[in-house]
Symmetry: C2
Subunit: 336 residues, 2 copies
Amino acid sequence: MNIYDVSNKAGVSIATVSRVMNGNPNVSDATRKKVLTVMQELGYTPNIFARGLGLNTMQTIGIMCTDSSDMYLANAVYYTEHELRSHGYDSILCCTGDNLENKKQSLNLLLSKRVDALILVGSKFLEAKHKDNAYIFSAAEKVPIMLINGYLEGENIYCTICDDYRAVYQITHALLSSGRKKLLYLYTSNSYSGLQKKNGFLSALRDYHILPDEQFLQICPKGIYEAKEIVASLYQQGYTFDGVVTSDDFLAVGALKYALEHHILVPKELSIVGYNNSILATCAEPELTSIDTKVEALCVNTVNSLMRIFEGNDVPACTTISANIIYRMTTELNPL
Amino acid sequence: MNIYDVSNKAGVSIATVSRVMNGNPNVSDATRKKVLTVMQELGYTPNIFARGLGLNTMQTIGIMCTDSSDMYLANAVYYTEHELRSHGYDSILCCTGDNLENKKQSLNLLLSKRVDALILVGSKFLEAKHKDNAYIFSAAEKVPIMLINGYLEGENIYCTICDDYRAVYQITHALLSSGRKKLLYLYTSNSYSGLQKKNGFLSALRDYHILPDEQFLQICPKGIYEAKEIVASLYQQGYTFDGVVTSDDFLAVGALKYALEHHILVPKELSIVGYNNSILATCAEPELTSIDTKVEALCVNTVNSLMRIFEGNDVPACTTISANIIYRMTTELNPL
């Protein structure tokens, strides 16, 4: 018997049971009474003792990510696992792929292993259709759901996100204010985080009364060659640019390779901006201006929030962390 | 009760119990009789039925890697997880770091979760001192231990390795036979795989009666800037080279950046060879000649061997897979 049984029988969330156990005042008297009655009926030993005895909890957190070979996600998994371990928690990782049925199956598998919480890494778990997220809401009835750089509103769901909107808005604004006029935006996905970035780009354009040509917003597979091909095909159609903003360093490297091959001077004639500040940004020649999305800070905050939830504390449903623009050789911008 | 109990009580390995269960002839009559007696005493239902009922096995494999944010290891974990899933197995991943005590602790943790086997990814689990590997040998008494690109001899230990020695030997040989005379070797580690690569380099030099200067073998942290610094300091000391062979693309990119900055023509004046054929090889400008170490094939072979072990078949203790040299713009070599 464990905290899940108490939560189920009392018909309240795990967080509420935790709050009662920890004497947190943000619980109504009626709820507190109900929970304490159930705990007594079930003969439940509170967590803090149980943990020491290894009785009521697996001390294991389920981590889900869509693709562990993706550099951003692999780093996030690494930092999350590390931080969990420093708090004495083990983790079980499931890599789900992008298929919704596989995501559901992995989530159920982790729940069947009695994990204490689920951490969803990246925003690719949130489906466009609200009803397709039902599996997340129903899991949240059992354990806390922590989203790293994804946003979903619901009971027992907690998000830590990077301010992708603001980061792309700022760099686009900086390019426009330095005199750039024709910006291309290359992006990989319309995930939550993907949409935030695209909106940041469009919003900065709007401030400068620029109506974006549809051709100047191009979705692209996450590959250097694929991005290079798309840029090549735009130039072949007669379009020209003086700046390329991207949602991923891969795409920026592709644009850079096209420019080098066609003797377009970077950054003089063409500014290029990456995203994620990955190893590609420093591997590229010249090195890429890119956005540091603070992956480690996101993961540390997520785990710390989870520990606070376990202790019965209130935790904000959504925490936002600012990104940092890292200026390098593919832009002529200087930090203010 | 499960196969471990049978194996313990009969005093034989899991593999032997499996062989008996599957009617494999490579078991002595005495052993077969002992195992069958124990199975009867314990009322043990063989695996193949038990699995369907979810009784005797967790259907879970423990995966250990030293660092999931390392690109090579992250890819290997990805392919391994994927392949296990396609066989209906879940996996629990532990990232151990390089500390021996942490490695032992992670291994014990996975065993305590009753995993059916352990897969150790990369050669960083094998310690220089034989006695420090005792924890692996003792785990092998309980479950099969699968090593991906690491080599250790022992009962119930199975290795799938890439022929790193031959790959570095071949590319070094090709450089020397094309007229290069002063080769620098940059490497990151003296792990099993690291030593194989270094020996391949030295062996090719020996074929050409070249005695390597100690300064021409440099160990280096796995970073672009770090490698660039080491190359810079060698040039500052008056050493010159016409080729750089490396144990990792990171180091090759560092050497390349030094050359570009100092107007050394690549590949005309300096050939540069990477290793692992990572995304860095195609991101670099010019793109790197590198070694494809067939990570996916290694992982698929490891999982297939494991499935065969579970079925009670004999599996070779060590399988070697050849690497591929991928010729790009940093060498003037052509494939034969």
